[in-house]
Amino acid sequence: MRLTRSGERSMLRVEERPYTRKLGENMTKIVLLAAAAAMSLGLPAFGGSHGDGPVKAGFVYVGPIGDGGWTYEHHQGLLAVEEHFGDKVETVYQESVPEGADAERAMTQMALQGADIIFTTSFGYMDPTINVAANFPDVKFEHATGYKRADNVSTYSARFYEGRAVQGHIAGKMTKTNKIGYIASYPIPEVIRGINSAYIHAKKANPDVEMSVIWVYTWFDPPKEADAAKALIDNGVDVVLQHTDSTAPQAAAAEAGVISFGQASDMSEYAPLPRVSSIIDNWAPYYIARVQAVMDGTWESVDTWDGIGPGMVEIGEITDAVPADVKAEAEALRDAIGSGEYHAFTGPLNKQDGSPWLAEGETADDGTLVGMNFYVEGITGEIPN
């Protein structure tokens, strides 16, 4: 009886107040829709110069150009292209484009605006780039860090893992707690290579070293990156490596008095401490060469993967916070990798499960590295799927 009556009453109330019900439900929808809309709109920002029949180069960025890291360096490449070609080139860029379907919209828009060559600068743009490229066979596409190519799609990437080897060595020598931490973005081969390379060389420098990896599932989220750095530090880590795009972990490291490394960009504003060195991505020569190729009509689909040797990866200045002997060792390692006499993945190396990977003196082939999906022996934890 009571149940029925209260049920009736609640029905009545709903009928009496149709607005209440409608608004309550719609509110959630509105907020979620609005959130989705705003995220996908991103922040369009177009810049560029005009001239007579210039080559138009487009750049799609995953973060803001002021992130101080990854996107900042790609934008430096754009600026170098402008500087080099003057009014023979016109550039256009869009910042903070989410990876996924919305990236296709940004690329399509650029192609429709008459871009001759479009650089898509994040791993997650891989399929969108291939899809859009199929619709615009006359436009050249350049996808960074991916592995899918087409007649009008090139790929390019830097051997960041070579720089990671140098960082790993310094990290292993510098840690006092024997715990180093790694802020990882997404479980993709590029990131896993970096983790492995850093760990292998930290372990060589210091057999007692342990490494904690935190996956943050974002390229750019400064508060989350800072929280991840703090979580590592709170758990006893005193050297923080990052594979995310902002300088937030540097600030967290500075506050806690631990050591960090600049990522993608020099991040020299945090030198000499906490930032003791850095990996700098130098895209400018590549971008200039590729735009030149479009001008000359010699552009063709290629796969470029350059490291320290050709200068696509640079090691930022090692500061005086690092003892002179460690600095000398790190620089020797850098030069050995640069000259090709040493490979960052040289056996004997086992995979995490103990199965042999590389025999004594054997070096990893690019095919394995490109698709790397396993940890080397000694790293604890699992790679998420």
Binding site: L41, A231, D234, G381
Partner: protein, 310 residues
């Protein structure tokens, strides 16, 4: 469960701080929505607060001035929204989205010369004697001042909406603006005040990110926290204490999952990463599962435009 190297005192301390920006922004939006206005520009107001607070703190050397500037700048931005939607009667959803885009753009312009600059340190508030207490001391009495302020604001907002005459008027305006207007209350004045208050709190939340949590200025550094705050107001069914719970759950689980990863606890990372969103939504949906009461708490005039002649 073995918690390895996690220090519970540091953990609780970290999660209180991590939750504060979202809590501040959500409390502001709660008051705005209770007055019947839907301001989707929280993200934009937060980021403007973040940059304005950062600039003021760097230039003056005083974090306190930075927080004041953050609140003021975001309140001004909010009032722009207020004038557009309340006086010029523009669409609230579109204007709010526009406010976010505008805020993101103008903040990156304002912050041009401040990338890589280190702000003055905002020290924790150490209460003498009390902060020396074992365990309780560091957790309860050694937090940043904003943490205490945000908690005081929760109590203040709850008390204001529930027990004051002005709070009753604000709710009346939000439930039925025609009726409130007919009774002689100023719908426009009430709503503009609420919008400015909401903006000020969102700005404080932003400054908490740029001055305390990160602490640095980076473009786009709020990275979606304004949207989380909006969602928490809805899932918290417009009640101050549920919004508090939502913000702490989200902030807490976010920090906890990072710590579990750092300590190498064997839980799948995919689950850990999803957990802040899942747990917050789940808990708030369950506690507000009495649909009739939850919806009765949604302001009836929410998002509707009001014109005094109507």
């Amino acid at each position: 469960m073995e918690l390895g190297s996690i220090n519970p005192v540091l953990l609780i301390s970290a999660l209180l701080l991590a939750s504060t920006p979202i809590l501040l922004a959500a409390m502001g939006e709660l008051v705005v929505e209770k007055s019947g206005v839907l301001n989707l520009g929280v993200e934009g107001m937060m980021i403007v607060g973040a940059v304005a607070g950062f600039i003021a703190a760097v230039e003056s050397g005083s974090p306190a001035l930075g927080f004041l500037a953050a609140a003021a700048a975001a309140a001004v931005l909010a009032l722009l929204f207020g004038v557009l939607t309340q006086v010029l009667l523009s669409n609230q959803v579109a204007t709010g989205l526009g406010l976010t885009l505008f805020g993101l753009g103008i903040s990156s312009l304002m912050g041009q010369g401040y990338v890589g600059v280190r702000p003055p340190a905002s020290p924790r508030l150490e209460l003498p004697v009390l902060s020396e207490l074992p365990i309780l001391g560091p957790v309860l009495f050694n937090q940043h001042a904003l943490v205490y302020l945000s908690l005081a604001l929760v109590v203040g907002v709850w008390w204001y909406l529930r027990s004051t005459r002005s709070g009753l008027i604000l709710r009346a305006v939000g439930e039925s603006h025609e009726a409130a207007h007919a009774l002689g209350y100023s719908v426009l004045g009430t709503r503009l005040a609420a919008i400015a208050f909401g903006g000020a709190l969102a700005g404080l939340g932003g400054a908490c990110l740029s001055l305390v949590i990160v602490p640095q200025w980076t473009e786009g550094m709020t990275a979606g926290r304004g949207w989380i705050a909006l969602a928490i107001v809805v899932f918290g069914s417009w009640r101050a204490w549920r919004v508090l719970l939502g913000a702490y759950l989200f902030g807490g689980v976010s920090v906890l999952q990072l710590n579990l990863q750092a300590a190498g606890i064997a839980i799948p990372v995919e689950l850990l990463s999803m957990s802040p969103y899942l747990i917050t939504i789940l808990v708030l949906v369950i506690i507000s599962s009495d649909k009739r009461r939850a919806q009765a708490n949604a302001p009836n005039s929410l998002g509707r435009t009001f014109h005094a002649s109507g």
